[in-house]
Symmetry: C2
Subunit: 133 residues, 2 copies
Amino acid sequence: MQPKRNTWQREAVRATLAEAHGFVSAQQLHQSLRDGGSTIGLATVYRNLAGLVETGEADSLQSPEGENLFRSCATQGHHHHLICRSCGDTRELSATVVEEWTQRVGAEHGFSEIEHVVDLFGLCARCRAARSA
Amino acid sequence: MQPKRNTWQREAVRATLAEAHGFVSAQQLHQSLRDGGSTIGLATVYRNLAGLVETGEADSLQSPEGENLFRSCATQGHHHHLICRSCGDTRELSATVVEEWTQRVGAEHGFSEIEHVVDLFGLCARCRAARSA
DNA sequence: CGTTATAGTGATAGCCGTTCTCATTTAGAA
DNA sequence: TTCTAAATGAGAACGGCTATCACTATAACG
């Protein structure tokens, strides 16, 4: 276990991430902080985000454009997301079915160290209503 | 409909992609072509790959590292992939379990038009053996 | 308290995949 | 053959991210 010091930068990243409504990019987060008067560096934002992901305090996923997005995580442990492609609203999902399936399929093909990307994008009820209005 | 001309470059990309065993990056494909004596440019490889994806002749997905990978598509219609992160060898999967799960979860949360990204990355038997040797 | 070792920081350079630019080439129609 | 614009290719540019390294400040210890 590496030593971890408490810095105001780490806390600032944590706080700003928590304030964000959905998934945010590291750069957006950095900009928010700078806009708020912080002198925090971009590299530090990246480092702390990576740290938060490692400890399970934050989630990360790739946007379809290949950018890494982050979100402060409510649920501990492994889980997936259902994301509204219109408003970005996110639901956290746990999916035993999927976990079992990945393991089984991996084993059947002789693959090990299975990593899986399972994210659902859809249109939430509110956005669907708004669109048809 | 935009005009499409037939160039030897397009055909070369198609052919080399078909020869590849699994998912390949644009850069790898370009390198293969150059190694084979072709004078094709990198930008052209990118352009033609994008074109093939658009017409459904090729699949594309993001690796966990954020790189775009391409593959000439055997199965028509919706399917998933199990990909060796070392050699790129790929198995196409159909997964009724997963399809059902996505629909159910979407409905439970009032989401519609569910799109899902489900791709598995692992280490195939051959690469695992090679690594421990 | 003050001292001190070192984890953490921040500016910036660098890396890597991808896209853009633009002069040149060439497919395909006339 | 002639013509025109789609397509090409070399390299510049771009954007996200990581590495570097001198400096700062946390927190353990005296």
